[in-house]
Symmetry: C2
Subunit: 251 residues, 2 copies
DNA sequence: TTCGATTTGTTCGTATGTATT
DNA sequence: TAATACATACGAACAAATCGA
């Protein structure tokens, strides 16, 4: 049997979809790590025994999903969570005046626990699976604006302790990526309004029961595998959540 | 001078971008109306004097922006606001149980007024320009969930009266599209939490000052020209706002 | 029902332009 | 400068879906 994609077997998918799947498999396997270049289109065409055009079409989709990044003259790279480009893709809170500051983080608590029902459902965990529960306060221009409560399956980040978490450089997803090879490539968020619980109100400097924006986010890696459940409580007196389908990318 | 795009002149843009611009111009001019098919790729290639591949690449982008819709064997069509596909793209409120009902509408008020400062800014209006102000109550499964306040420049929809608005078939964007040729192709939304003003609380059946989700939406047509400012007040006790970058389209 | 024309979808190949190193 | 890599553009062939004769 040759390794050719075009070989005899009846293909359910178009060739470029198969190529995309095999590229994703290599990504999952860590053959090319975040920040690294994948092989050139010509080399991939040889390897998969397809034309360059087919490779390009597969890569096109991965680029559209922000899993890969192309740079003319340099190569095609695995996207990282260290670039402003991807930062804006995952962080949606902006000032009502339009300002887009990067937040500073304060770790409030870091503990190991068992998953509750909500986390089990959202993260497809086994009953009572061990998780990390992390509370993080985000400040914008020095002012507390967001309280984050994160739940991560403990098996995904062995040996992660409070010091390592607090001492990370860059974003939390950058930490998952650099230290555990967990590459968050997509998020799904559900937003609602609620009265601030007393703890939230206290931390954010609000009166109890003040209205806050609640964001329940599930972060996914390749193949839509969930890796993190995050609840954010946002003080929207001076900031808001920006949902701009398009406009990000230059057209 | 030939009409060829490829003709000698130094090209600032790639050819397919020029083609895209010219296609968009024809769309704006109403050469092909929503629901109609545009000419086949082969015919467009002749018309613009470029290869089919170049036409395809231009159309690819317009399809990604949901301005055009391709159907193998049939043709390429101007997107309409009557299809479920586009409906989900513009309507983001879902049940907390995951249900995705289509809302029913009750027109609460319809009046002519002058733009306030906020509308002037968002819609790039001249000072005190005439606008329509429309209040609409949306029910999901019969229960009032969303109060919409819309502001539209009066010049965009001449002769639109309360009866015509209330008697429309389909969505509001469908009305703009069918009756005025105004094709909403993109929206930008900013979300925050607030205490329900008394009128909002009354209409939605909430107690005064209950937390509600506030959505400020600007709807744009071609060339990012704003056409509508909409403020939505959402009761999020049983529903929430879904922001799922990706996942809509099958991957 | 079948067949043929039309249209988009996929795949291949080639040539040339442009950015990077 | 030369080599490499992605970007653009062209053309050709066949597959798959659609539609009407």
């Amino acid at each position: 049997m040759s390794s050719s994609l075009a070989a005899g077997s009846p293909m359910l998918n178009p060739l470029y979809k198969e190529v995309k799947i095999r590229l994703t498999r290599s990504l999952v396997a860590g053959e090319w790590k975040p920040g690294e270049a994948i092989p050139s289109e010509a080399r991939l065409a040889e390897r998969f025994n397809v034309s360059v055009g087919t490779i390009r079409k597969a890569i096109d989709e991965l680029v559209a999903e922000k899993i890969l990044v192309r740079q003319q003259g340099r190569g095609t790279f695995v996207a990282t969570h260290t670039e402003d480009r991807t930062l804006y893709y995952f962080f949606h809170i902006v000032g009502k005046d339009g300002s887009r500051a990067q937040p500073s983080h304060d770790l409030l608590s870091f503990r190991r626990a068992r998953a509750d029902a909500e986390a089990e459902r959202a993260l497809a965990l086994t009953r009572g699976e061990r998780v990390l529960r992390i509370e993080n306060l985000l400040r914008l221009a020095g002012v507390p604006v967001i309280l984050d409560e994160m739940v991560i399956p403990a098996r995904l980040c062995p040996n992660l302790d409070e010091a390592a978490f607090a001492g990370r450089e860059g974003t939390i997803y950058g930490l998952y990526q650099a230290r555990y090879g967990i590459n968050v490539v997509r998020i799904s968020e559900r937003l609602s309004a609620a009265a601030a619980p007393s703890r939230v109100a206290e931390v954010l400097g609000l009166r109890a029961n003040a209205p806050v924006l609640v964001i329940r986010r599930v972060a996914y890696t390749y193949h839509d595998a969930p890796v993190e459940l995050r609840t954010s409580w946002v003080d929207t007196r001076h900031h808001e959540y920006l949902s701009d389908l398009w406009k990000n990318e230059p057209r």
